[in-house]
């Protein structure tokens, strides 16, 4: 990295992404006075990122492999608009070393790490080899490229439960937990097929599944002047099918000594690949505070805002600063995060129906507001959720002086949030925030799947709530049936038994 010029000018950034993260990056550029270029598929002409950027280039049909994943189209858009730099966001081409290399070959700045770091950390096996030399503790597991039979033997040796993971994986895709030998073959098949269709690479490996462990990750920031620091941890144990749902900073499980030790380990892991820019070291931490390196994400994380709120550091601005070849603003690792931040991922998924994704037109979208609330979203009333992209539609982030403050604010913000038209997981988050286990901080990565259900509340609905529901359903039905019967005689509107209608008409006549 030290061979690069020390200060490069960035006047225009092309954002090679969509949705909330594209909007987030455009916002950071605007805050810095840097021009922006959006790329958009045919399904995203109305999307916020297309409308918020200074320029917008159409890159093809809705399926990602015909638009957001086509490196050549993105580079062509950058050349056409004379962008100096490309920010990949997360997902799509963010961890594609070929793409990072092609960007550099075109004389453009890739706002992210070097192709070498991406390649090494993107291959789970190489990553383990790299960090091992720096005494980073690893979860027991196998290497890549093993046959089903070799994997079965390895699993017996490591001992169940184990986790099957895609070599090229990320975001929970191509991952399958297996609790006994009987289900192993089927899990291998599913994981390979999902990995093949998601990443074009069906190779998998296995790892010991740690029971009762937490997912805790460290935010890394490194510049091209040889400085590498961490910005403290994020607690991401609230997951479902390895998809994070709620993240916090700091972690209730953390203590000063553990933060010190894990932070040093995280810095070492990053240094093992000469890492430059923002990255994340994901770890599992067991009940006894033993920790294990899982993987490094060589990009901005979905959950980066919780770190921003407790450190006061704008990670996207720092990414751009580092990509310009400057020294990053913070000079020391963050050992004392200020206050507490919590993020709920708002997904178009139905928590009452096995979290099935929901598509359709968002009819109303009233976002929470007021002190201590941040919403990062790419949708709005009138926006259509299509089946082409992932189901996360917004991130709701709250801040408070303590965990209890942040949680109270989250509870308040969730109750303010109104989205109609599609099913979404706000009810899940509301229930979670009322769960005694979550409130007490007693949870691990299996909590949501094993011990939390939408219909087994830790406190049952009250009689008054049931009564309220009965009244609401009845008034709704009564009104609809009345309106239906009035189609015959529309002049005779029955308003007399609707107190408010009468009152409203009195005011507005």
């Amino acid at each position: 990295m030290s061979t690069e010029p020390l200060s490069k000018n960035i006047r225009k950034v092309l954002v090679a992404n969509r949705g909330e993260i594209a909007v987030r990056i455009i916002r950071a550029c605007r805050d810095l006075g840097i021009a922006t270029v959006a790329v958009y598929s045919d399904a995203d002409r109305q999307a916020l990122h297309t409308r918020y950027a200074d320029e917008a280039i159409n890159i093809g049909a809705p399926p990602p492999r015909e638009s957001y994943l086509v490196k050549e189209k993105i580079l062509e858009a950058a050349k056409k608009t004379e962008a100096d730099a490309i920010h990949p966001g997360y997902g799509f081409l963010a961890e594609n070393a070929d793409f990072a290399g092609m960007v550099a070959d075109e004389g453009l700045i890739f706002i992210g790490p070097s192709p070498h770091a991406i390649t090494t950390m993107g291959d789970k096996h190489k990553a383990r080899e790299a960090v091992k030399k720096y005494n980073v503790p690893l979860v027991p597991g196998t290497e890549a490229g093993l046959s089903d039979e070799e994997l079965i033997n390895a699993a017996e040796k490591i001992g169940f439960p184990i986790m099957v993971k895609a070599i090229a994986g990320g975001g929970g895709k191509g991952m399958r937990p297996v609790y006994d030998a009987a289900n192993f073959v089927e899990a291998l098949r599913t994981a390979r097929s999902e990995a093949e269709s998601s990443f074009g690479n069906g190779d998998v490996y296995i790892e010991k599944l740690l029971v009762g462990a937490r997912h805790i990750e460290f935010q890394i920031l490194a510049d091209s002047h040889g400085n590498t620091i961490h910005l403290g941890e994020r607690e991401c144990s609230i997951q479902r099918r390895n998809q994070k749902l709620v993240e916090e900073a700091p972690s209730i499980f953390m203590d000063d000594d553990l933060r010190q030790r894990m932070g040093e380990m995280a810095i070492s892991a990053a240094q093992s690949v000469d890492y430059v820019n923002a990255g994340t070291i994901e770890c599992l931490v067991d009940k006894d505070k033993n920790y294990y390196f899982l993987e490094m994400n060589t990009r901005l994380q979905v959950e980066h805002p919780v770190t921003e709120l407790v450190t006061g550091i704008d990670l996207v601005k720092e990414q751009i600063r580092i990509a310009r070849g400057r020294r990053m603003t913070p000079t020391e690792s963050v050992l004392n995060p200020q206050g507490w931040a919590m993020e709920c991922r708002i997904n178009a998924e139905d928590p009452y129906n096995n979290f099935v994704p929901s598509i359709g037109l968002i009819r109303a979208s009233n976002t929470p507001k007021g002190p201590g609330v941040r919403v990062d979203s790419g949708v709005f009333a009138g926006y259509e959720i299509t089946p082409y992209y992932d189901s996360m539609i917004a991130k709701l982030i709250t801040f408070g002086e303590t965990r209890a403050d942040a949680m109270a604010r989250m509870r308040r913000a969730l109750s303010e949030y109104v989205i109609t038209g599609v099913r979404h997981n706000i009810p899940f988050h509301i229930n979670l925030m009322n769960s005694f286990s979550f409130i007490a901080g007693q949870f691990d990565t299996r909590f949501v799947e094993d011990r939390f259900h939408m219909n087994t509340y830790e406190n049952d609905p009250t009689e008054a709530e049931l009564e309220t529901v009965a009244i609401a359903a009845t008034l709704h039905a009564h009104r609809k049936r009345q309106l239906a019967s009035q189609v015959v005689a529309p002049a005779e509107r029955d308003t007399s038994n609707w107190k408010w209608v009468g009152r409203y008409e009195r005011i507005h006549r």
Partner: protein, 167 residues
């Protein structure tokens, strides 16, 4: 107007009066009911300010109140009488329809197979995730309308399970 409304298997006799009051199981409540845009309502019930969303679903109502979803049936007197005659509420249909558009990754059963409620029968990929579609009832597979590799639209009928507990 009088209704019988069933929420979580509990029956409520709800009577709507012309003066804006509502009687529930004979007890009077002051209810101020305001329709907001897009299926939302603001209710002020005995001074309590409450916001609910109501969705219609096959003649039943899904009511979302403070983050919990309730299913409600609203029966007028005629419907109650008919129900009395038939002897019960209707069972879950044995049809599995696609909850979203996507690609059929696998069909795990064959016609004639016995399945238990909750068994995974089809794997559907959508939004980059594999989703397991489960049997809505115990019974046997009567027909299969899709195969691996099919690209299907939302609400496409995929599979029918005949009930083992049919009358």
């Amino acid at each position: 107007m009088k209704y019988t409304t069933i929420v979580n298997n509990e029956h409520f006799e709800v009577e709507i009066q012309r003066d804006g009051s509502v009687f529930v199981n004979g007890k009077r409540h002051e209810v101020d009911w305001l329709e907001l845009p897009e299926s939302l309502y603001s209710m002020i019930k005995d001074n309590k300010s409450i916001e609910v969303a109501v969705d219609e679903n096959d003649g039943n109502y899904n009511v979302l109140l403070e983050g919990r979803l309730y299913e409600a049936q609203v029966l007028d007197q005629r419907a109650m009488m008919m129900l009395g005659r038939k002897g019960g509420l209707k069972l879950d249909s044995g049809e599995i329809k696609a909850p979203m558009p996507g690609l059929i990754i696998d069909v795990l059963v064959n016609v004639g197979d016995d399945v238990n409620e909750g068994d995974t029968v089809i794997i559907l990929e959508s939004m980059k995730m594999q989703n397991e579609l489960k049997a809505p009832r115990t019974g046997s597979v009567q027909s299969i309308q899709c195969k691996q590799g099919d690209t299907i639209d939302k609400n496409t009928l995929l599979l029918i399970i005949s009930g083992s507990d049919e009358e």
